[in-house]
Symmetry: C2
Subunit: 486 residues, 2 copies
């Protein structure tokens, strides 16, 4: 039986526009994506939420393998001495580390960190594995849990333990490492836009937002409905910093011993949070078909004891399953309206209604979750014998439509500010990704943050002539998106 | 560059029959399945080893889903107070737990255990999720890392951290929980035999070998070439013990509040160790095709500048890949003999040789890794235009042959002992799985262990009339396999 202290009771989903934060928590719990756990800062990823994670894994893992990467697994625990080898790295992560001090009855002579990220332990191993230029590149990815000590808990967005993948590569040349960093950034952009249907801006992080120990950090940044940005993945060019700290050296073809160039890149279950906030509505989740644990759910309608629709639904579901679709029949003993609401909360892209009259006519009704009630595109009667083709068309249309909708929102909420007053106002009002020409100076960035709460999300090359920084008036070096952020 | 202290240098693989332990370590390192890490008790699973794990996951995950289970993810850290709730459970695991005592700069008020297994945290969550009999059964599996404090390190067989899966289910009725326990035991047996090609005995563990807190533990037990048994998976009927400890109650259809019945079941990367030891030979690994990261490797042979074989190999590999095979072309600038030896170490089931004369004839030579040099079945010339069919037939034949070979070994090394002297001698000599009628008493088992080093592996029903225990002369209640074990 439930312990009420552990389980926030969610009776209804509050309106999304009124309080995004309350809406988000309610949807995550009510759709059974997660449960709060008795472990501070940690959530349980329930089967429906894990289904989202499995789809993320399936798509990203294929993209990693298609670009020549292999998976491996490195230890969870990292001796303190190893973490200390890269100075900036340890400074960045030390406040967030959980420490193991005892094993069984024994007190350890050296504390062990639970990995907050794995550059240190992987660097040590690469140093062992690399001898000559023939051993390079090393292209490895790890699917793992990591832990960063946090006080706050927000499902997917901020938890102490989280699931992610971290790629770690080593190269003989600087240019090749940079190329890898950008290639994986593009894999992330492609996944966010074409699978999670979340449009993003890809670019370079400012120095203050750089990964501790990196030469350059790149990110993809999404925009949430409340006008706050959400960093959805990062890709780091680590130069020779980690190779020097962990002694990753190789004998090059010219007989010189050189340090390797390394990269790392990661996406976590945070991406699921971005997807949930971007697409959900007052009825609950809306999941893009490619990410949906269930692409379609059949709701058979029984009238006056006529149960033919139930058998017809199971037959049709079998056909769709054989065609590779993820579908389910909801034949529970409940009213159809109750079921509609439940699957709406869970965001299943397509509902397939079938009643006695449909059975007579050899049709079913497809109902799109992404469209509002009353929208002419929401419902469509289609012949049963062409169902798989119609489901394919509908799911593709939903995927595209959700992306286009989100993309329109992003573009509408990316104002260009041309003077300081307008810039400050847009940042404070959370108008979205405020796009300015920027000087790139940390002092300017700190000043904007203090005044408005906004930080640089990422930067890109100037698209015009020499100009000045909208924020401070100094010479501009880049264009930058500023926003308040998660 | 390598730190020699961390990296046992393996120049050659010692003969398997002479020293199984030295052979095993050498093969695991030389085939690049694992590396030792600077973290005591922990190994790195390298890409080729992770490829084995991915194939285990793929097969088991499908079997779990086909039997109605879903995946989820629970927290890594378990507050000490939660672990203490099931008395036998904590007593069994406390000596093996790693403790987190500090987060960032802060000392914790309650220590957190790194999960040695997840019954405790999952029990707490099930108590939250279950209200009525309609919420049952819960059928969940978790793929996770777990940690048990160990001094020794043997790749796959004994490491502090390891990868596994743990299933956890809750049911309204005792009979249903028992049925689930046996169903998953059979999933494991099926996987071991038909995928890993490792024959096993399935049966009931004795009380002393039971999982801490279980009502009954079942296992599958394999036999290694040195006559020692290796427990390869377990499935536990937990009765109401954990439901009572963690308060998993439900309102039944009869309006009574009742405790649920729970099960748990797990297989770890230990299964990979069983597979490696069972099948390997003096040339290295022999991997059953269904588990092989690479099913076939092409070695094109270039003679006097005639490089046509390289292009032909790439063409043929492309055809096989499109037909769903996992293949690779080894076109490195090395002698064929050197490549043969390397792929032999890695245990790739099928080598495909192609030289200029093969190109002229439109043929390739298939070489089976499982057969010895000189065996008439080892090599076969087949036409290139029928290659996919021949590869399919060969891989199926290898899979079957490896299983039959291992099964013959198991049966030959399962002597039935009929008197105490013979039983003691067979146990001491590590003759294999010594099969006796047994009384089932812990005192008898302890006595056998003290005298011979052998323990019960698992037990099953008597297959004949009333009889006496071969070990002690009391009345027999079961048949039991005794063996020394890993």
């Amino acid at each position: 039986m439930s312990d009420p202290a552990l389980q926030p009771v969610v009776k209804e989903i509050p309106p999304k526009a009124a309080d995004l934060s309350a809406w988000y928590t309610a949807v995550c719990l009510k759709a059974e994506l997660v449960s709060y756990s008795p472990v501070r800062g940690c959530v349980v990823l329930r089967p429906y939420g894990y289904g989202l994670w499995e789809n993320l894994q399936k798509h990203l893992d294929k993209a990693f393998k298609d670009t020549g990467h292999e998976n491996a697994y490195f230890p969870l625990l990292i001796p303190e001495g190893l973490l200390l080898k890269e100075a900036e790295h340890v400074e960045g992560f030390a406040p967030e580390v959980a420490w193991v001090t005892h094993g069984g009855q024994e007190e350890l002579t050296e504390r062990l960190a639970i990995r907050p990220t794995s550059e240190a332990i992987i660097g040590v191993m690469y140093a062992q594995w690399v001898e000559s230029y023939r051993d390079l590149p090393i292209l490895i990815n790890q699917w793992a849990n990591v832990l960063r000590w946090e006080k706050a808990t927000r499902p997917f967005l901020r938890t102490m333990e989280f699931l992610w993948q971290e790629g770690h590569t080593a190269h003989a040349h600087a240019a090749e490492a940079r190329e890898e960093t950008l290639k994986m950034l593009d894999v992330y952009r492609e996944f966010a836009e074409n699978v999670a249907a979340v449009p993003v801006y890809a670019g370079i992080k400012s120095a203050s937002e750089r990964f501790p120990g990196a030469v350059e950090t790149f990110s993809i940044e999404a925009l949430m409905p409340d006008g706050k940005a959400l960093q959805s993945a990062t890709s780091h060019d680590l130069g020779q910093n980690f190779a020097k700290a962990y002694d990753i050296k190789f004998l090059d073809a010219d007989q010189q011993i050189k340090y390797a160039y390394t990269t790392s890149w990661g996406m976590s279950w945070r991406m699921l949070g971005a997807m949930i906030m971007t697409h959900g509505d007052d009825r609950g989740l809306r999941i893009p078909p490619k990410m949906a644990p269930l692409e379609a759910v059949f709701v058979p309608i029984v009238r006056k004891g006529d149960e033919r629709a139930v058998a017809a639904a199971h037959d049709a579901a079998k056909t769709l399953r054989e065609a590779g679709f993820r579908v389910r029949v909801d034949d529970r003993d409940q009213q159809p309206g109750w079921k509609y609401a439940e699957w709406d909360v869970r965001g299943v892209p397509l509902r397939i209604e079938i009643g006695p009259r449909d059975v007579d006519a050899g049709t079913v009704v497809l109902v799109r979750r992404d469209k509002a009630k009353g929208d002419p595109e929401q419902k469509q009667s289609v012949p049963l014998d062409q169902l798989a083709q119609h489901v394919r068309v509908s799911l593709d249309a939903i995927q595209l439509s959700m992306y286009e909708e989100a993309k329109a929102f992003l573009h509408e909420h990316t104002p260009r500010a041309n003077d300081r007053a307008e810039f400050t106002r847009l940042c404070k009002e959370r108008a979205g990704m405020v796009d300015i020409t920027w000087c790139g100076r940390a002092a300017c960035e700190a000043h904007v943050k203090a005044e408005t709460g906004a930080t640089t999300r990422n930067t890109r090359a100037l698209d015009g002539d020499e100009t000045s920084c909208v924020a401070c008036g100094e010479a501009a070096t880049v264009r930058a998106y500023f926003a308040q952020s998660y």
